[in-house]
């Protein structure tokens, strides 16, 4: 039991420390696709270190909500990392919550970030909060229907059990319902983590911002925490996509060899997904805000088709 718990904490540590690397990798890939040299992949670590060392300027209008939110964001992401099977399906703390709990933990973070956006009383922050909540709310049905589609095939909503169940299924990726659910979940993951075509993480223009507008007032260590939490969210979503839909390689036991293989496979899967994200971000323009609901309803339809295909085809 003790060993398992330690390995689970190691897993959490992998999420916490690996997340900035993933962000750096996506940025590097994007730079390469744009014909640039780009910042080194370790640049996010340097940014975080710098922000931690910098002074903090707070708005006079803010309350404790503003200061509390960064800590809460990081705490929810670390807690989520305890639940998600990153390297192994042996997650002794995995019983703390199923996939729905995970989605609600993410929503808790979004809720407080939106409050923090309103707290300073600037128009930008309020705009970001309003848009972020609109997108989060409209993405929610897709999330749940995609989860339904997954749960239907796996017969469970526990993340570790889903992976165990799926890895036994050899013809998994040939199942159209499974692929539809994957696409739906992928679009939702892009929306929830603030990537193109929903939100542009590299924008400088306040009026086009969503996530960036909410964090416009943050500085110093608060900003570091928020960026770190955002990186972890991306990491967790991509890990979910990788491990739930392509469950091979996740260590079924705690044998060291299996864990090493799991690590290598995870790195490979995440690299492929991150490259996919970078390719999309290079090829697509940001959608107008009021076109985003169309994208999300499209993804909802795909998730629903995945469910329908289970009942009528399989």
């Amino acid at each position: 039991m003790l060993v398992e718990v330690i390995i689970e904490f190691v897993q959490t540590l992998a999420v916490a420390l690996g997340a900035p690397l993933l962000v750096g990798f996506v940025r590097k890939m994007k730079a390469r696709l744009q014909g640039r040299r780009g910042a080194p992949v370790v640049q996010p670590y340097r940014d975080l270190r710098k922000w931690l060392a910098k002074d903090v300027v707070l708005s006079e209008n803010t309350s404790w909500i503003f200061r509390f939110t960064p800590y809460l964001l990081v705490a929810t992401m670390l807690l989520s990392a305890l639940i998600v099977p990153v390297l192994t399906t042996h997650t002794p703390l995995g019983f703390m919550g199923n996939i729905i709990v995970l989605m609600y933990l993410f929503l808790l973070g979004t809720f407080f970030l939106a409050l923090a956006g309103l707290d300073a009383g600037s128009a930008f922050g309020g705009m970001g909060s309003s848009r972020a909540m609109a997108i989060a709310a409209l993405a929610e049905p897709t999330v749940m229907i995609a989860i339904f589609a997954i749960a239907l095939r796996a017969g469970t909503t526990r993340l570790d059990h889903i992976i165990v169940h799926y890895s036994a299924d050899g013809l998994l990726v040939l199942n159209p319902g499974h692929l539809l659910a994957f696409v739906a979940f992928f679009i939702v993951a892009l929306a929830e983590t603030g990537r193109l075509p929903v939100d542009n993480p590299a924008t400088h223009l306040e009026l086009t911002m969503i996530h960036e507008a909410m964090v416009l007032e943050y500085s110093g260590r608060y900003l570091a925490l928020i960026e770190w939490a955002a990186a972890m969210k991306l990491f967790l979503f991509l890990t979910l996509l990788a491990n739930l839909f392509f469950p091979w390689g996740v260590a079924p036991s705690l044998a060291p060899a299996a864990l090493v293989v799991a690590l290598v496979v995870l790195v490979a899967k995440l690299s492929v997904l991150a490259t996919g994200v970078a390719l999309l971000e290079t090829a697509l323009a940001k959608l107008r805000l009021f076109r985003v609901p169309e994208l999300l309803s499209g993804s909802f339809l795909m998730a629903l088709l995945a469910v329908v295909s289970f009942f009528f085809v399989a």
């Binding site: 060392a53 002074d55 903090v56 300027v57 707070l58 708005s59 209008n61 309350s63 404790w64 909500i65 800590y71 705490a75 670390l78 807690l79 019983f95 703390m96 919550g97 199923n98 729905i100 709990v101 609600y104 933990l105 929503l107 808790l108 809720f111 939106a114 409050l115 309103l118 707290d119 300073a120 009383g121 600037s122 128009a123 922050g125 309020g126 705009m127 909060s129 309003s130 909540m133 609109a134 989060a136 709310a137 929610e140 049905p141 999330v143 749940m144 229907i145 339904f148 749960a151 239907l152 909503t157 526990r158 007032e217 110093g220 260590r221 009021f290 909802f300 629903l304 329908v308 009942f311």
Partner: protein, 677 residues
């Protein structure tokens, strides 16, 4: 442990004694407002506490039967308690106890303007009639008490009857509640006629042999009657008018508790009185529930009036509760008793939770309204600095109602999700797809509820005050804060340690349905339909708290000396920073208004008056962007118009001519004689 029957009776007597004495004493002391306020509400507090004890005794297995044969015809007054009644007594206590405490301080503001004696008297009667309604065991007792409850709450709504708005709200409430009562009356009489007994206890055995069409008619009539009280769409229109108009402790209990008695009726109807029904009933309830949940929250999102927002959100939560109950009916129709019990359990748990957080939210909203003298959110803001504790309580309520961990709304919504997800065990594809849509509706609801309460809390409490009143607001009295604090703690406790309530609910549902829910739980984990879904709310809350404590400590270890400095909000270097730059409530909701424009059908008017000399100078700009109520326009307006038309036609009969009236009497007599022949 067996609970002695005499103990239960004593508790019931104590409860009624407290409420009765409270009602009488406050009337007797009506001349001295502070005395009436204290006596009346203290006795209500004691009474509510005694209701809580009675509920615990009932949930622990105490039963009692109480008949007063002389008081009413057709069997007299019959009262009794079982676990389901006891659970709803618990809800009354959860709402009523803190609300009475809160009312001690809150009604002080009414002393100079209204009769405190009447207010405290009706408050006691309100709590007493609600208590008795869930104990009623035959038709007449139930209907009399139900009507008494509606009338007493009507008087409470009319407390501030000097506002025209309140009068209108009271009228709508009165009409809707009596339309519902008419349905109930017809339904009950039909049921009593068909089964040949007025006694609730005999119905379950007697209804099984009824014809399908009679059962359908009974179900439709009673469901309409109870649905009108619960406030499901499209019978909800009284709710957003009456709840804001009432004083806040009354709104708290009306929204948190009274509409739950509609739920109580529906559960009795669907699971007890009519036994196992056809799948259509469950499907209908599920559909109405999904519509109520989504539309309720969508209308809440558009509201600028804080209390109306909360009232619409009650419509939403009734929808969520009914999703559980409708799913339970469907599972029952397909003979899956374990899952039916699970879904019903989810619905009942959410009923209790909603009583806790909605009462809390209405009380905090009342505190805000009392401090700022407005219900309009665009005139609030910055209150977290002026009223820090009220703000914290409102935040707790918001997080709970947005179904976010670790508070109680999350747990019951999680249970509801699991019971809906488990619907794949039903072997009917069309039903499976209906469930898929219900899941989507619940998901959309929870997302929109989160957005709605970001708006409610963010606009009301954060940033800068938008008006002078908001800038001068003060924290409310400690009694009011004590009432809110109790409920905030209840929200946390019900969220992180659900075991006690789960035990009680398992026993309740077993008593009613003879099946336990497919749910395993111990002190730390809850597993729905093992091993389908697990959650460990207590551990999760502890882990979250530990992480929240650990992260700042870790940063402190690592960090060198950094300084925290306060400066103005970044506004691109602009010189002036006022509340006018803040995002408004309307602006916050605007993306939703555009996305759901097909539903809101917003009216947009922009009137610009130019200077007569030049179009470059503007004198006034008037901008109006309102949401239309589809139901009022498409359903109720035609209904009102046709009623008026019929009334006008009927008026022709009333010529004022005595001879023609004599003729009417003669015709009526002849018809009666012919009929009676």
């Amino acid at each position: 442990m067996m609970i002695n029957e005499t103990l239960v009776l004593k508790l019931l007597n104590l409860t009624l004694f407290c409420f009765g004495l409270g009602a009488l004493a406050s009337l007797a002391l009506a001349r001295r407002a502070p005395a009436a306020r204290w006596t009346g509400h203290m006795l209500a507090l004691l009474g509510a506490g005694s209701v809580g004890t009675l509920a615990v005794a009932g949930l622990a297995g105490g039963t009692a039967h109480w008949t007063l044969s002389g008081l009413l015809p057709f069997g007299g007054v019959v009262l009794g308690i079982d676990r389901l009644s006891a659970f709803f007594l618990l809800i009354i206590a959860v709402g009523g106890f803190p609300a009475s405490l809160y009312a001690l301080g809150y009604t002080r503001a009414y002393e100079s303007r209204h009769s405190l004696g009447a207010m405290a008297c009706t408050w006691n009667l309100f709590l007493a009639t609600m208590t008795l309604v869930v104990l009623a065991r035959n038709v007449l007792t139930f209907l009399v008490l139900w009507e008494a409850m509606s009338l007493v709450s009507y008087f409470l709504v009319l407390t501030e009857s000097d506002h025209a708005e309140t009068q209108h709200a009271g009228l709508v409430y009165l009409v809707m509640t009596h339309a519902g009562f008419a349905c109930l009356l017809m339904g009950f009489l039909l049921l009593a006629h068909a089964t040949g007994t007025m006694d609730f206890a005999h119905w379950r055995a007697a209804t099984a042999s009824l014809g399908a069409s009679t059962r359908h008619a009974i179900f439709i009539l009673l469901a309409l009657g109870f649905g009108a009280k619960a406030g499901v769409i499209p019978l909800h229109i009284w709710l957003p008018q009456a709840h804001p108009a009432a004083p806040s402790h009354v709104s708290a209990v009306m929204s948190g508790v009274m509409i739950k008695l509609g739920i109580y009726g529906l559960i009795r109807l669907g699971f007890d009185w009519l036994g196992i029904g056809p799948a259509v009933w469950g499907g209908a309830i599920l559909a109405v529930a999904a519509v109520s949940a989504v539309l309720g929250v969508l209308y809440a999102l558009m509201e600028q009036d804080l209390k109306r927002l909360l009232a619409y959100s009650s419509v939403e939560n009734v929808g969520i509760i009914l999703l559980g109950i409708g799913a339970g009916l469907l599972f029952q129709a397909y003979h899956l008793p374990g899952l039916a019990a699970l879904a019903l359990l989810a619905g009942l748990y959410h009923t209790l939770n909603h009583a806790a957080f909605k009462s809390l939210l209405f009380m905090t909203a009342g505190a805000v309204v009392q401090a700022t003298h407005t219900r309009h959110m665009e005139a609030m803001g910055g209150l977290i600095k002026r009223m820090p504790q009220t703000a914290l309580f409102f935040l707790v309520g918001s997080v709970a109602i947005a179904a976010l961990p670790p508070f109680n709304g999350f747990f019951s919504e999680w249970l509801t999700f699991q019971s809906l997800l488990l619907s794949w065990q039903i072997p009917a594809r069309d039903v499976n797809l209906i469930f898929a849509l219900a899941i989507a509706a619940l998901a959309l609801t929870s997302g929109l509820a989160a957005a709605c309460f970001v708006k409610a809390f963010g606009i009301t409490f954060l940033a800068l005050p938008r008006s002078d009143q908001a800038g001068q607001a003060c924290e409310v009295s400690w009694v009011m804060r004590a009432g809110m604090a109790l409920l905030a703690l209840a929200c946390l406790a019900l969220g992180i340690w659900p075991v006690g309530v789960l035990y009680a609910l398992q026993a309740t549902i077993f008593e009613m349905n003879g099946a336990y829910a497919n749910l395993y739980f111990d002190w730390k984990t809850v597993v729905a339909n093992p091993p389908f879904a697990t959650v460990a709310p207590l551990l999760m809350a502890c882990a979250l708290a530990a992480l929240l404590a650990a992260i700042p400590l870790a940063l402190r270890l690592r960090r060198g000396r950094t300084v925290r400095r306060y400066y103005e909000t970044w506004g691109c270097g602009r010189a002036l920073q006022t509340a006018r730059f803040e995002y408004t409530s309307t602006a916050f909701a605007n993306p939703f208004k555009r996305v759901f424009a097909f539903l809101y059908r917003p009216i947009k008017e922009l009137d610009i008056e130019f200077h007569p000399e030049s179009r470059f100078f503007v004198r006034t700009i008037a901008y109006r962007n309102e949401v239309r109520s589809v139901f009022e326009e498409a359903l109720y307006q035609p209904l009102i118009r046709s009623t008026q038309w019929i009334a006008e036609q009927a008026r022709r009969l009333q010529s004022g001519n005595v001879q023609s009236y004599l003729l009417y009497i003669l015709i009526a007599l002849v018809i009666l004689i012919l009929l009676a022949r």
